[in-house]
């Protein structure tokens, strides 16, 4: 989705008169300690995502409604290993904790989440965090898992050692939440210095921090659980020389096959229902321009985009499962060798893969790449990956122009192959461009590739559901705002200027003239003027294209009664249709992506270069595709 992931601004609650009350709580912990799960558990659905001002680190905030304390705001800090200001993540955390981050209130208390499975190493973060002097509660997450695997810890002893309350919790199962409630009820802000009573060692470097952590865990009777044999056994297959890459390809292929073969009938069904609902509802309106505006303008445009909701949810479902299960890190490992040949490393693969959903969060995810030039190269190639906003366009034109032929006993469909080909095209363009950049203007020395592989976990219904709800509601909101406005605007442009109160022929309307005016530029690609208007409107967001087509063909009396797929055949040939899909594979039609690139690179230079480069490439490739189709099929 092009604007799906634009962070919403978050307004921190205004400081009340009662200054001794707790208001803001910070949640901090090492990566993979289960912090996000706990954040979701504590806040429920009431959370907002934004960016810290000036830096590219994501900020999540939410009222703690999950435990009935909506009066408290929970800030999720980035997952970090230490408070060393070496990485941007750690710098942001320190600034937030010390109240120096503009626009973010200073936390009154801290919840420190540690993974009980690796407590010794995780305790290295405890000393500097407790040393900040804020009321802090230490949460030993995954304690249930630790016990079943034979680990042990004495929480009371640990609380004495740290001078802070300690609770065993399981964020996944939701146990131990009452301990957090108790801690929050007890602390009212006035005993903020309590934690400072226990003298903690000043730990300067990793060696002394580890020594201290090892001593503490020894004194508190901590016994590390046996390592997860299951996870290693799974990796013995999934990272196998032959089965590993094979499994990877099968996963990718089945995702697209399911999105297409299950998503398409669902979309068609939804489309039928929506079309009938529109006709039925507008029967109450007089048969004049108003009905035309509501039905042909607004309803047809908006519903032609709405029908893609099932496919988009399916795609996000699969990406969510891959990410939450821990497989995405393995994919990065498998991909490292390929990524190296283009001058990047496996970490660049994760943003590239999540860009299949949306380039905006993918570009924000590039901040895990330490090398600045590698990161810029990844940002510049990410929009080539086939995001879900291209999906509606591909779906429409494939369904309209590619026959549903099946091979291998119906297991592989031609439509799926064409779809996969388009995905491959974007991927190859990204690789080639990265290679070009890394061997010219963004040449740099290799940075080490250090990747932590989380243990495999069963994705929870809760977290996947939350993700789908989030994406689905943003998609619907967009269909109700941007796309509605664009389609209404198009209807007006298509129905004016009026002669004696009668709507003009489409070619005589404002939009028709505009389209004809730009036709010479796109005629070599096999596009007609209606496609031209679609391209112009899709600069806002790719999926607007489909709504525009719906409105334009709905406004044309010759195609008004036809379904959009049939209507397209009226004045578009196979060459033009293929060229159009190729054009969409390459072109940068997404204002949200440009805005996020501008923010992440801190200048307009890169988004402008990126836009022009992608436009030229798209025009050239579409021209070649149209020409090739004509050559082969006449």
């Amino acid at each position: 989705m092009s604007t799906c992931c634009t962070p919403e601004p978050y307004e921190p609650p205004a400081p009340g008169a009662d200054s001794s009350r707790l208001r803001t709580i910070a949640l901090i912990g090492p990566p993979n300690s289960g912090k996000s799960t706990l954040f979701n558990r504590l806040t429920g659905l009431r959370q907002k995502v934004a960016n810290y001002p000036g830096v590219t680190v994501e900020q999540r905030m939410g009222a703690m409604a999950g435990i009935g304390r909506s009066d408290l705001t929970l800030i999720d800090l980035p997952g970090i290993y230490s408070l060393d200001p070496f990485s941007e993540d750690a710098r942001v955390s320190v600034e937030v904790l010390e109240g120096r981050m503009p626009g973010t209130p200073k936390p009154d208390a801290i919840l420190l989440v540690l993974d009980s499975l690796h407590l010794t190493r995780q305790l290295m973060l405890a000393a500097p965090v407790l040393g900040l002097g804020l009321p802090t509660m230490v949460l030993l997450n995954m304690s249930d898992l630790m016990e079943t695997r034979g680990g042990e810890i004495d929480p009371l002893r640990l609380a004495q050692e740290l001078g802070a309350p300690v609770a065993r919790i399981s964020a996944v199962k939701g146990s131990g939440m009452e301990a957090i409630q108790l801690f929050l009820n007890r602390h009212r802000g006035e005993d903020a210095n309590q934690a400072a009573i226990t003298v903690l060692p000043v730990v300067g470097n990793a060696v002394s921090a580890h020594k201290w952590a090892a001593q503490v865990s020894a004194r508190t009777g901590y016994r590390a659980p046996l390592s997860a044999e299951a996870s290693r056994k799974v990796d013995a297959v999934l990272l196998h020389r032959i089965w590993g890459p094979l499994f990877f390809l099968v996963v990718v292929f089945s995702v697209f096959e399911v999105v297409f073969s299950i998503g398409q009938p669902l979309s068609d069904g939804l489309g039928d229902v929506l079309a009938r609902a529109g006709t039925w509802a507008t029967n109450f309106l007089p048969n004049d321009w108003l009905r035309s505006l509501v039905l042909d303008g607004a309803w047809k445009g908006v519903t032609s985009v709405l029908v893609f909701l099932p496919q988009i949810l399916l795609l996000f479902l699969f990406i969510g499962i891959l990410e939450d299960s821990g497989y995405l890190a393995r994919a990065a490992l498998i991909a490292d060798r390929v990524m190296r040949t283009i001058g990047l490393n496996g970490k660049a693969f994760i943003p590239l893969l999540s860009a299949y959903a949306c380039a905006v969060p993918a570009i924000m995810a590039t901040r895990t790449i330490e090398n600045k030039r590698d990161r810029l190269a990844t940002i510049l190639v990410t929009p080539f990956m086939t995001c879900s906003a291209r999906l509606p366009v591909y779906m429409l034109f494939i369904a309209a122009f590619i026959p549903p032929i099946a091979f291998v006993h119906g297991l592989v469909g031609l439509q799926t192959l064409v779809m996969l080909g388009l995905y491959l095209l974007g991927f190859l363009a990204a690789l080639a461009t990265a290679r070009l950049l890394k061997s010219s203007i963004l040449k740099s020395s290799q940075t080490p590739f250090i990747l932590e592989l989380p243990q495999y976990r069963m994705p929870t219904l809760r977290s996947i559901g939350l993700r789908l709800w989030d994406r689905g509601s943003v998609f619907l909101r967009q269909a109700g705002s941007v796309i509605l406005v664009v389609t209404l605007g198009l209807w007006v442009l298509a129905n004016f200027p009026r002669h004696h109160g009668v709507a003009p022929e489409l070619t005589e309307s404002i939009i028709g003239r505009l389209g004809h005016w730009m036709e010479p530029a796109i005629a070599p690609l096999g596009f007609n003027w209606k496609i031209g208007i679609g391209l112009l409107s899709s600069v806002l967001a790719r999926e607007v294209m489909v709504g525009t087509m719906g409105t334009l063909y709905g406004a044309d009396p010759q195609t008004q009664s036809l379904s959009l797929q049939t209507a397209l055949h009226h004045d578009l040939h196979l060459g033009g249709a293929i060229a159009l899909m190729v054009f969409f594979a390459f072109a940068m039609q997404c204002t949200s992506t440009m805005a996020v690139v501008r923010r992440e690179t801190n200048s307009w230079r890169w988004p402008v270069i990126q836009f022009l480069y992608m436009l030229v490439l798209a025009w050239g490739a579409a021209f070649a595709a149209n020409w090739a189709v004509h050559l082969i099929w006449g």
């Binding site: 580890h210 590993g244 498998i334 490292d336 060798r337 590739f449 250090i450």
Partner: protein, 93 residues
């Protein structure tokens, strides 16, 4: 060198010779002197390699692992470690 250890073997870290920022990051992940490191898997292409250290699984490329000096621990037959693990697990119950 860590990169020379075979899959399934274990070594003890002696020294790390990398730029300070990288070195520091690795140390917070557990790559400290005298830490035990086990070679778990190699990626399908033969590189990077997954190492188990301090209960974590970390993947490093060959060129990074080459900068980490290790001494070999006494080679133990895999079946022996497996039995030892199983009996330890039983004892804990």
């Amino acid at each position: 060198m860590l990169s020379e250890l075979e899959v399934g073997t274990t070594g003890i870290i002696e020294s790390v010779d990398l730029p300070p920022s990288v070195h520091n990051h690795l140390m917070y992940m557990g790559f400290l002197p005298n830490a035990r490191v086990e070679v778990l898997h190699r990626a399908p292409a033969g590189d990077p390699t997954v190492y188990a250290i301090d209960g974590l699984e970390i993947a490093l490329r060959r060129e990074t692992a080459q900068a980490i000096q290790v001494r070999m621990t006494r080679p133990v037959r895999p079946s022996a470690t497996e039995t030892a693990r199983k009996s330890e697990r039983k004892a804990r119950r």
